[in-house]
Structures are given as structure tokens and as C-alpha cells.
Symmetry: C2
């Protein structure tokens, strides 16, 4: 647990720090300065120091950070010792790509069940992962004690799926539909809206002179 309340923006950067520290450790580096860390992860060093400050003293002034210590610290923070299984709802093109990808870079996360209505793939194993019929969603979520699910169904089914997931006890949803889901306050939703993302990138490119970088990723 963090020492104190930490901002969401800080929490979102932790996996990035952790990944780079793993890389440094595997290349045999013993220490890293905040300037080097900043250059590698493309986050200004004041932000990095502020982020780290939420977790107490992690480095020594003038020395930088001990790579292995810091890596182990973030590994604990991010619960890397333990595999987190997640459910995937919707095994169309995007769902297939997610199954194939299966968060390989992060060996502590794994999609371990898929759900769909397509009889050609239900009750089969794809990319090593069993695909259940969507009718079994609630029962399997409860049986396998999933806390996090990915929704990759067409937009018009998004809310209905979310309702079933919440009913079955899901606490976190990664939402690939363009719908903004209504869920109880104790359920976290992460929206990954690729159309919106690309549209804002195009906007940035067209009006780059008018946009102030406020640190938003």
C-alpha cells in the first residue's frame, strides 16, 4: 500500500517506471539518475520526483536511485509476484488481437477466459485460453473469482455486459466500446477509445501551435 493518498495520474505512471527499471536491471545497471529515467520514459524529472515522493524516500540526493531496490519496490506496489487473471468479453477481431497479445510484456497479467456468442468458437480453446458462451459469464466470473474484465463487444451491448459483470462482482472494467458505461461508484472503468484518441492526435497535429502541454498523456 502507498504511504499516503496518491493521485490517479501518478498511479498511471507506475507501470512505466517499473518496466524501465526491469529493463535497466536486466542490462546490469546498478543505479540510475532521475535525469536518465526522465529521458527514457519521456516524463519530466520534476514529475518523477513528485511521483516518487508519495512513496517516501526512494533515492539519495546526488546519488540517484538504486535500480534493484526501486524495481523491487514497484514490483511489490504493482503486485507483480502474483498472477492476475482477467476475463475477456467479446472475441471478435479486437478480442482475438488481445488474446494473441495477452499482455506478454507483463508476465503478471493474463487473460484466462474469453466469452462470446459465436458458436464457432465457444467451447474451444483459442491461443491457449478457453472461450465460454456468454450465457456462462456470471457463473464463470464467480467461479474463477475474476475482479477485472475487458469489454470488447460492439458498443450497443456494452452496458448490458457491464451490468452482468458488476452483478457477478467485477471491480474493474477495461472498456473498448465507445459507450460511457454507468457503473456503481466502487467499480473502476478504464476507457480505451481508439477513435477518440486518434481524433485528438489529429487535432493536436493540426493545431499544434494552440495546444498547451499540461502533462496529460
Amino acid at each position: 500500500m502507498p504511504d499516503k493518498k496518491i493521485p490517479k495520474a501518478t498511479a498511471k505512471r507506475l507501470p512505466l517506471y517499473y518496466r524501465y527499471l526491469k529493463y535497466l536491471f536486466s542490462s546490469g545497471k546498478k543505479k540510475v539518475s532521475s535525469a536518465d529515467l526522465s529521458e527514457a520514459v519521456k516524463i519530466d524529472s520534476a514529475t518523477i520526483r513528485r511521483d516518487f515522493s508519495y512513496f517516501g524516500a526512494l533515492g539519495k540526493r546526488g546519488y540517484g536511485y538504486d535500480v534493484e531496490d526501486l524495481m523491487n519496490f514497484f514490483s511489490k506496489q504493482l503486485n507483480q509476484e502474483q498472477l492476475t487473471n482477467v476475463a475477456l468479453v467479446g472475441v471478435g477481431h479486437l478480442g482475438r488481437a488481445l488474446l494473441n497479445y495477452n499482455f506478454q510484456g507483463q508476465n503478471s497479467i493474463r487473460i484466462s477466459a474469453g466469452f462470446d456468442t459465436n458458436d464457432n468458437i465457444t467451447n474451444t480453446i483459442l491461443e491457449g485460453v478457453p472461450i465460454y458462451h456468454i450465457d456462462d459469464l456470471e457463473a464463470q466470473v464467480e467461479a474463477q473469482q475474476f475482479e477485472v474484465a475487458i469489454i470488447a463487444v460492439p458498443g450497443n451491448y456494452g452496458q448490458d455486459i457491464a451490468d452482468h459483470l458488476v452483478e457477478a462482482g467485477i471491480k474493474g472494467i477495461m472498456n473498448f466500446t465507445p459507450i460511457r458505461l454507468s457503473v456503481p461508484d466502487n467499480v473502476r472503468v478504464l476507457n480505451v477509445d481508439l477513435s477518440n484518441e486518434l481524433q485528438s492526435l489529429i487535432y493536436f497535429v493540426q493545431y499544434s501551435e494552440s495546444i498547451v502541454d499540461d502533462g496529460t498523456e
Copy 2:
């Protein structure tokens, strides 16, 4: 062009506002209050009013917003009258899913060329989109005057592809690799790092008591 400099966070929310206004317009709604808008897009109404304030007076106090006017305004801002063609580099599982998806929700954006090294798909048309060999990348980007490209190649090729794209004149990159790309200051990079996103969602679920919502999406 916006009246004044606008924060990146505001710019990122414009497509969301625009999409919801289109939906309201198509359902025959004439006006919308900031409270209703807030409820639908799940952004607090103070943030919405602040976002809109960057573009001058868009609504009347006590009346709310005129749906058609506001929709047309954001449509212009987001350059919706004109099709923006983007290039896709890497037509593996993820690239295929992106081609199939092709930003259907946003009819002003289209992936209109793909690039890969796989001889089974180069010089063919997939999902209506021609797939070129990666060796033709720079020539085609110049010929077709792409300004925005999507990188969906394995991480270790990411920087090399980015260098070629920048060389050919690309000004915006949507980066699906876990690599943080080095590009000149005038090139915008949007990182879509699904592993990191999912990892932070899991973190949020585990430590929900310790995380302060600072408005970060």
C-alpha cells in the same frame, strides 16, 4: 482554430463531446443542459464549462446549449468536413483488428494504407485497404501525403519505423508498441500502451482507497 491556447486535457475531451452531440442531434434533441451533458459523458460539469470557455461563449446561462450549433462548432474544430487518411504500419493481429475496425464511429478518419513485411499480405487488399511492403513506406507516405501514422509493429522495430516515418514527413504517431519513441519536438506521439493501462486499472482496483481522483482519464 481555438480562440486561445487550450490545455491538452481539454483537447482530448473534444471528440467525446462531439460524439455525444451528434447522438443528441440524431435523436432530435434541440438543447442540452451542462448537467445532462455531464451525466452522459461522465465528466463533471465544472470541467465541461471550463473546457467550453476556451472557445468563447457557447451557451446561455439558464438555457443550456443549442445542440445543433454546438455540434457544428465542434465538427469544425475537429475538421470533420474533411476525410483524414492515416497510414498503418504493421498488419499483424492488432493491425488486422485496427483495419477491420477502421474508426467506423468517426467517419472522418480512415486507415487508407497498410505496411508490412509479410509477403502473404503485401500487394493485396485487406478490408478494402491496400497493403504495401514496408520498403515502400517512405515513398508512399510522401506520395499519399500522410501526416498521421499508426505503429502496430513488435516493440523492437518501433523506433526504426518512427525514424522512417518522421523522415517522410509524418507529424503525428499513434504508438501501440511499449517503446517510448524518440522523435523531434514538432512530432506528436500518442502512446496506447494496453499492458500499462490494464496494469494501472488492476492497481486502482486493489488500492482504490488510496487513490485520489485528479480528473485523469
